[in-house]
Structures are given as structure tokens and as C-alpha cells.
Subunit: 209 residues, 2 copies
Amino acid sequence: MTTSPSSRTSARTPTPERRLPGGPVLQDSVTEAIATAFFEELASSGYARLSLEAVAKRAGAGKAAIYRRWSSKLEMTVALASAVAVDAAGEIDTGTLRGDVLAFLTDVAGALRHSLPSRIVPDLLAECARNPELAQALFTAVRDTRRANATRMLERAVERGELPPEVDRELALDLLAGPLYWRLAVIRTPTAPDYLDRLTDKLLAAFTA
Amino acid sequence: MTTSPSSRTSARTPTPERRLPGGPVLQDSVTEAIATAFFEELASSGYARLSLEAVAKRAGAGKAAIYRRWSSKLEMTVALASAVAVDAAGEIDTGTLRGDVLAFLTDVAGALRHSLPSRIVPDLLAECARNPELAQALFTAVRDTRRANATRMLERAVERGELPPEVDRELALDLLAGPLYWRLAVIRTPTAPDYLDRLTDKLLAAFTA
DNA sequence: ACGAGACGGAACGCTTGCGTCTCGACTAGG
DNA sequence: CCTAGTCGAGACGCAAGCGTTCCGTCTCGT
């Protein structure tokens, strides 16, 4: 089977639909333990070296419990990663462009300062350069969703008159996400406490240039 | 042996020091073939999955030829990657800040538009998040060198009066590299022909904000 | 002409992970 | 109470890659 994960257990599960705070929808405690172990192993080993044996062992589960839910490492990764990424992408609307930009940067920084996402995200992105199936799934589920969200953020600023209608959306989106990702996930250098504030000022200047 | 690669062959090699156009210093044709195969395998498999058997096979060499030169995959990667990265990092000095910025962006774009570096660079960066030894070696050999180069570029602009002396160097460096890397290596979206020009304009505005 | 040493290639024993399969234990619905 | 289904655990055969060791060949410098 290559479709909906966990469909085999969903009929008979003791806690039919439990929701972790901030986490994806998980069907039961076994699925939850497997997902947690999966992300921990993914962070420490990377996708390429990820061993489902290690995931099972860390989750205190049997390998069969994994294969009962997902048919392969790829399908498992797409399902779990898309779930948390979509779940974590909340709409931002503070009423001002500066507020929106700062909130966006704060969100990103909050995620990338944690060791799990800061290891997992670059790893999956590198894997996407090599694995078209993973790339297609993650790009449509995560990248395109987030980019559409951020575009709406810019459109609202245009409507409010904070940005000229002819503002270069593409360039603005790259400016919005690039420097912070570069700082935290690429060169991995800590930031001063007012870094996001100063970055926000520069970005606003660049947008209207 | 954990030091200088190829030291065992350098005494007796038929072509004592041959230099590829744009490539690192390679001691002889076997080392050269191994290095080429190494980067091709690295691009298609990633560091974690890289198999020295596959490198040897692709190079038309025996595994012993590899182990005679480097003691491990890690040492081999550090040596070869540092060599090309340092080799490719040329000083930029066009005389104007705008010229320097555009030249820098053009360099980066030129590299990241090729399939080998655009797959290898994100992969090694992701691996650095997981492998302290690799991170230490690559960060000091590549990241710090390049960042120092770019800092000098900013200082020259300050001396020319193109930037105020109190310009935020750290932030400027992140703005310089982040958006383009994001665009080409993270979200992997093609750019319009005048993208670098427009990006340069925005960056100059942000620097002096 | 000779010996030293690197060469490509193949096999070695060993480890890891794959995906499947079989256990006995536990639990829930009928 | 019974039975169907999941549970953890782990053995299975298979494949790949590790690092090493040998082989016979080739090309040097002496």
C-alpha cells in the first residue's frame, strides 16, 4: 500500500485522534512514539543514513509496527515531514508590514535555533537535490504553501499602502528568508539579541528601494 | 598517515604538478581521476551514502589507490573539498561597491547554477551540522576565508566613502550571500536574467539603511 | 637488465540494514 | 469467553560497503 499512512490502525485505536501541542495529527501512542523517534534519528543520522531499525529500537517498537503504517522510508518521510511542516506554517497578520516581517523572522529563528529542525531541514533540502520524488512531495507541500503565505503578507502591505504596487515580490521573498536561513542554518553563527530587529529594518529598506 | 594527501606518490610521479583549469592542485592522473570521480559520486549520492568502492570503480582505479592517498572518507573529503573551495575563492576588487557586490553575486550564481556544486554544497553543509570534525575543517578552510574576503570588500567600500564607517558588517554579509543562496540552493527556483542586477540594487539600499 | 613500487582488479571476513516472517503476549469487540 | 488484530522482539536471507590482502602487470630510476 502506498496511500494514507496509519489507515490500518485507525479503526481500532484506543485514542482515536490525539493532537500533540504543535505537532502533527497522530493516531495513537505507538504512531506518536515512532514519529518522535523518526525525527530524532533523522536529526542525528540524516535521511541517507537513517535506519528504520534504529527508529524502531528508539521508539521501543518492532519493525513490523513501522511497515504496518508506511511502505518505505521515502513515504514515511514525506508523510511525517509534510505533516509537521504544514502544521507549523501559521498565517501571519499583525496589521503592519514591519510587524509581519518581524513575526515571520521570529518564527523562522525560533525553529532554526532548535537542534532538531536545524539539522533536519538542511538535510532534507540537500536530499531533495538528489531525490526527485522527495523533492516533488516536499516542495509542493511545504515550499509552495509557505511561499504563498508570504506572498499574501506582501499583498496585504500593498493594500495598506506600505509597499508600492509594483514591488518585486520574488525578490522580496528571497530577501525575507535568505539572510536569516543563511545565518542560522548555513554558516551556523549565533546572532545578537537585536539581530532580527536590525535585519527587519534593512529588509524594509530593501523592499521599497 | 593523516597528513598531506598524495605524499607517497609525489616523489615518483610522472607529471609532478599538473593544474587543471579552475581545479585544485592534483599530483598525477590517477589522483586526478579519483578526485573527479569523488565529486561526481558525492553529487549523486551525498556524503553519507558515498561509497569509496563506487569512487574507485568510476575512476577506473582500485580501492587500494584511494587508501594509499587518504586514510578515510572524512579526510579525503576535507582535503579535496578544501582544495577546490580555497582554489575557487578569488579576491574581488572592481573599484566600486556595486561592482564588487555584482561580481560576488555573479561568482556565487555561476557556481550554484552547475549541478555538481549545487548538490555538493548543501549536502556538505547538512553533514557539517552532524559531523563536528568535518564542520571544523570546512568552516575554518572555507567559511572563514570567504567571510574574511567579503569583509575586506566592505572595508574598502568604507574607505572609499561608499559606506558609512558604522555599517553593520555582520548583517551586510548575511544579506550579501543569503538571498541568492536561498534562491538557487534552497528553493531551487530559476532566476530572471536581470535578477542579480535587481538584487544588487536592493542590497545596496539595505547596507546604507 | 633489474628491483621497487604503484597500478587495476578481485576476493577476503565482517558489519549493517533491508523487508519479511514468526513467535507469544496483550487487548478489545462480539 | 473467544477470536481477530496489534503489540514488541528478533531471526531470516539478502545485498552493500567496509578496510585489507593478494595477484599479475606495468613503468619507473638506477
